[in-house]
Amino acid sequence: MAKNFQLVHKICTTRCQSTNVFTAVSLTNREYYTVKITDLDDLTDPQVILNEISRTRHIRHNNILPLLNSFVQESQIWCIYPHIYYGSCRDILNAIQAYYTANSDQNLNTNNNNNIDRADEQIRLCFNEQSIQPIVRSILLALDYLHSKHIIHRCVCPENIYINQSGHVYLGGMGYAISLIDNGFLNKRLHEYPSKIDNYVNYLSPEILQQNLIGYNTKSDIYSLGVTICELANGIHPFIGCEKTQMLFEKLVGYDIGLWDRSILTTESKNIFVSVCASENPKVIAQIQRRCFSEKFRNFVDLCVVKNHEFRANCHQLLHHTYMKKMKLQSCLSTFQISIISEGLVELQKKIKNKTIQNQSDFSQIVQKPTTPSKNINSWNFD
């Protein structure tokens, strides 16, 4: 079946390294698809990918990325998804960064200040309040569906939010999802800590991290959504450059995660991360000074990141929040952003291509790994 798809270009290598994501064109209907290729031989425990495949197959919702097909090719699993033009929100954040890196390199000689300007431009252009709203709404609809089916996603983060060419938003990455229904009964809470989730701990809710007897429920996804919104809006992860133990501590004492705009500068600034960033780059403060989020948006985020999950809002309440209400039909990406993202994506593309060309001249070699003949022994003697 793999021969029905021609790989066009590589989008990324996921954080778990053994998975490569490609844009591919189907030779049967000439349409584009996103193909995730995971080499099972690199994994000692393929549990996450198997869970992702079976969970996704049991789910059907307009805002959840559907798995169209999956098959085995040599030692690889190919998962076929609809074509996601802009990739994940993480890709978009990276693309914006790549755009500025490339442009500032060109201008470096003419303008020395450019380097400093870059960081605050990057923050300014990430996602604005209006463009985040449709993303959040789609993700909430997806989570509302999952929660009504008693499933906890456990890995809501920019990596798992995808945007296609028409601006439709999908939630993906069901590899860490877990059901509250177990052994034929509906549990009110779970206690199991997601294994192999190290790369995403920053997004986990305090109650999951705490691993105590109280456990966690569907509301932990809301917390992760809150952290994700902050990252998209601030342009920087709330716990950037932070040791895991410190992150845990801050979450448990209920450190005020939130949106960075001028209001946090006027109040007695208890936000140490802003001050850390600011000490490295004074322009950040100036940028934050210029930014102003609406009261309802800040209130919405505050409801998501309430430390005690009993008082945290659920999907249903958030969908009826005033921030969700003023729903003008709009795309989640403005035209200006799209042009920047597109250019940034091209830059990223170049980088990936160069790397690929250095190592391997052709995709077919990625697909068929060179064989490693076992040393010394040519054959056994059975006669």
């Binding site: 031989d41 079976s54 097909n69 085995v72 034929g184 010394n376």
Partner: protein, 331 residues
């Protein structure tokens, strides 16, 4: 016709669902309307059985519901028509089925008895793997059945059991791997039953199993090799293991798999190969093969996965095998 204004009693819910499903089966006209009502009924029954986030399940109501389900033969009717129910409804049928199977009254499991008396239900579930739309739902229900010895026995002793050797190689990966999960549960959950089954059906079973080990499909090869190792090393399967490791053809297969290009397959093969070498009563043909390859094996094993230095057990076993092979003498 469907009054959801007032809450239905469990009996009414079951009867309505039964009527609707039978209408679906006949293929009456207002198909979509009926299918919609079926989904509502199913989710109503599911909520009674599982409760919701706000309300715990009530034992009394569940007892009435279950009794009505047994009396009206609803389980069979649901399974017969699962293919006609919509996507969410199919999942609800599986959830209802699985919850009912867990029901216990004292030492009795009434649903297990109910299904054991109607083995055509099990047969329907197995052939569910033939149909993409319902394969995964049927798989979930079959694995729940596997928890009960009585039902497992019915399944592995049916001719249909051998269909699993085809299902685990289906080209759609998610269905194939689901089928393998079920296959594995069938062979490992009930030790005494499984051991007796493997002994009685040794030839037929391993003839089929050999095909899985030779499959072109990497995943099938890797999974079946791993399961083989688990089966042979289980002390309940001692007789089966003894028989397996006295056959020189099996040894040849494992030695070839040690040299496969995939590291994971090499590693799994090692765990089967070691049993051949560690066997204190090796038959002559097995010893002969080992002797003929003595030097090669020692050299091969000395370099085998030498980067797994942190895996103490593996290194101990490897050293033990090398020692055993070095000490091998003609009999």
């Amino acid at each position: 016709m469907f009054l959801f204004g007032r809450t239905k009693t469990p009996q009414e819910l079951v009867r309505t669902l039964k009527d609707l499903l039978l209408q679906l089966e006949k293929g009456e006209r207002k198909y979509e309307k009926i299918a919609e009502d079926v989904t509502k009924c199913l989710s109503g029954i599911k909520n009674i059985l599982y409760g919701t986030q706000d309300q715990d399940p009530q034992t009394e109501v569940i007892a009435q519901l279950a009794q009505e389900i047994y009396n009206s033969n609803l389980i069979k009717i649901m399974i017969d028509n699962i293919v006609r129910v919509d996507f969410e409804g199919k999942k609800d049928i599986a959830s209802i089925f699985n919850n009912l199977l867990r029901r216990q009254i004292g030492n009795r499991s009434p649903t297990v008895d109910h299904i054991a008396g109607r083995s055509e239900i099990l047969s329907k579930l197995i052939s569910g793997y033939d149909c993409q739309d319902i394969a995964l739902n049927c798989g979930m229900m079959l694995r729940e059945c596997c928890r009960h010895e009585e039902l497992t026995k019915l399944i592995i002793n049916s001719d249909q059991f051998y269909k699993f050797f085809e299902y685990v190689e289906l080209s759609t990966f998610d269905i194939a791997s689901d089928a393998f999960l079920t296959f594995r549960d069938l062979l490992t959950k009930h030790k005494t039953l499984n051991a007796a089954f493997l002994e009685q059906n040794y030839d037929k079973f391993f003839e089929n199993y050999q095909k899985l080990l030779h499959s072109d499909n990497y995943v099938t090869r890797r999974q079946s090799l791993k399961l083989l190792g688990e089966l042979l090393l289980d002390r309940y399967n001692f007789t089966v293991m003894t028989r397996y490791i006295s056959n020189p053809d099996n040894l040849k297969l494992m030695m070839n798999m040690l040299r496969e290009k995939s590291r994971n397959i090499q590693f799994e093969a090692f765990h089967v190969f070691k049993v051949f070498v560690a066997n204190p009563n090796k038959p002559k043909p097995v010893t002969d093969i080992l002797l003929r390859n003595k030097e090669k094996l020692i050299e091969f094993l000395s370099n085998f996965h030498s980067d797994r230095s942190e895996d103490e057990q593996f290194n101990d076993e490897k050293a033990y095998l090398i020692k055993q092979i070095k000490e091998l003498r003609e009999v």
